[in-house]
């Protein structure tokens, strides 16, 4: 296999594919076991099929939104890394900010050509960031669910507010960063315009959802705003030279 690095090197597809296959296998194993157990404790096949179909249908829209998320990262990180990171544990907000932060620390940014070492550092950072979610479950799952640990019974409203606050901190940082070049360069001005455009599209989606009762728009509002404002970036760059 050619050892010349590329963000879409076949080896990366193989590594991502193996990881995704393991996750599908885990889901199938758990599904078969739970299905058998459900029948043993009295659920009918019809009832279980109904639950399976509803769950599958419910998952289609958010899954398409995640697929679009992969698409938005292809130009900067290639296809395999966003594929594996958004299929296993990750979510677009986290993965994109982790990648941009890592790239900045390496003196580059998303959209530039990466060396193998820069790319591997970005992949390591994205992976290490999601690690606690993976190791906390085997340690805490049994104690919390068996009631041995009372630590899970935290104030729910504060818990939600705490997580939202962390995200607000994240948003404040990246909004600030996106605006930092407004008065410095054309690129900076384009970045600010893209930020504003995305915000406007998001507001429009919110209004459409409310006025026309398009509940389905909830899942797509963010990816739609992203794709449209990214397209506008091309327009702004051409207009501003």
């Amino acid at each position: 296999m050619d050892k010349t690095f590329s963000i879409n090197h076949p080896l990366l597809f193989i590594l991502a594919g193996i990881c995704v296959a393991v996750v599908i296998l885990q889901s199938v194993v758990f599904l078969v076991r739970a299905w058998k157990r459900a029948k043993a404790i009295g659920f009918t096949t019809e009832k279980l099929k109904g639950i399976a179909i509803t769950s599958a249908l419910f998952s289609i829209a958010p899954a398409i939104a995640i697929g679009i998320g992969v698409f938005t990262l292809v130009g900067s990180l290639g296809l395999p890394l966003p594929w594996v990171r958004l299929s296993v544990v990750g979510a677009l907000t986290y993965e994109l900010s982790a990648a941009e932060t890592a790239a900045a620390a390496l003196g580059t940014k998303l959209g530039q050509v990466f060396t193998a070492q820069q790319f591997s550092t970005i992949a390591w950072t994205m992976t290490v960031g999601i690690t606690p979610g993976v190791f906390l479950i085997p340690i805490l799952c049994k104690p919390i669910l068996s009631g041995v640990s009372k630590i899970g019974q935290t104030d729910k409203k504060w818990g939600e507010l705490f997580v939202n606050s962390i995200f607000i901190g994240l948003v404040a940082t990246f909004v600030g960063k996106s605006l930092s070049g407004t008065t410095v360069s054309t690129e900076g001005l384009v970045s600010s315009l893209v930020l504003a455009t995305s915000a406007v599209f998001m507001v429009i989606c919110g209004i459409l959802k409310k006025k026309l009762k398009w509940e389905w728009l909830s899942d797509y509002a963010l990816p739609i705003s992203m794709i449209l404002s990214m397209a506008c970036a091309i327009l702004y760059t051409n207009l501003l030279g």
């Binding site: 769950s55 130009g75 932060t101 591997s120 690690t131 979610g133 962390i166 909004v175 963010l222």
Partner: protein, 226 residues
């Protein structure tokens, strides 16, 4: 010896879920790291400690904190089987939790019972499989297009993926919690516009803004204003 084995009580369904769940987590943990390890070995491109530390300092503390809170919040809703599965495929708030709650509701069972556990596990397993397969479909459809993405005309779009995400996300979080969102985001915007060079050290500012938002939220929460 034989007696001891004979007398050992058989593991309950829940016990076996925990045992197998833990084994699967170790397996998945290994495979999650396979990607960066594979890249580093194959291309002989290990990050230096300095590179890694500089890259990780901004996001790691922030995201580890989110992970801990999410674990405590979602675990009781998903049950044992659902948690061992759901936390691997992610997208908890927007996908796994609603799917599980919906299935529990339609089956007329409660979480915390064995019935609730198996139903949540079935719902989350189906949801995980559907999600992963749809993403694979996107990857298969996108793969032939990858050379097009390298076209210089499209580069401004990919260079601006960060503002494109955070413009929309800013609206989402300001709408969720305006009393915390508006002042903190405004401060962030103002600081960076006045001192553009801050963008060079933004990873360091990330935990600072997060702490600032948490402190403000805590003050407002204690006063009953959020």
């Amino acid at each position: 010896m034989e007696n001891k084995v004979m007398n050992k009580a058989p593991l309950s369904y829940t016990d076996t879920v925990h045992r197998k769940g833990r084994i699967w987590f170790i397996v998945v943990y290994f495979f999650i790291y396979l990607f960066p390890i594979g890249v580093s070995i194959f291309f002989d491109a290990w990050p230096t400690w300095e590179m890694f530390f500089n890259a990780a300092i901004g996001v790691v503390p922030t995201y580890w904190a989110v992970s801990v809170v999410e674990t405590f919040s979602y675990l009781p809703m998903l049950g044992a089987g659902g948690s061992y599965l759901g936390f691997v495929t992610g997208n908890m708030a927007n996908l796994k939790v609603p799917v599980a709650l919906n299935a529990l509701d339609s089956a007329g069972v409660k979480q915390g019972t064995e019935e609730g556990d198996v139903i949540a596990t079935i719902a989350i397993a189906i949801s995980s499989i559907v999600t992963v397969l749809i993403i694979i479909l996107f990857v298969v459809l996108t793969a032939p297009l990858t050379p097009i993405f390298e076209n210089p005309v499209l580069q401004p779009a990919f260079e601006n993926v960060v503002p494109a995400l955070f413009g929309g996300l800013m609206i989402v979080f300001i709408a969720k919690c305006p009393k915390v969102g508006v002042p903190v985001v405004f401060l962030g915007a103002l600081l960076f516009i006045l001192i553009p060079s801050l963008s060079g050290i933004f990873p360091l500012l990330l935990p600072i803004f997060a702490v600032l938002a948490i402190v403000l939220a805590r003050i407002l929460y204690k006063k009953g204003k959020v």
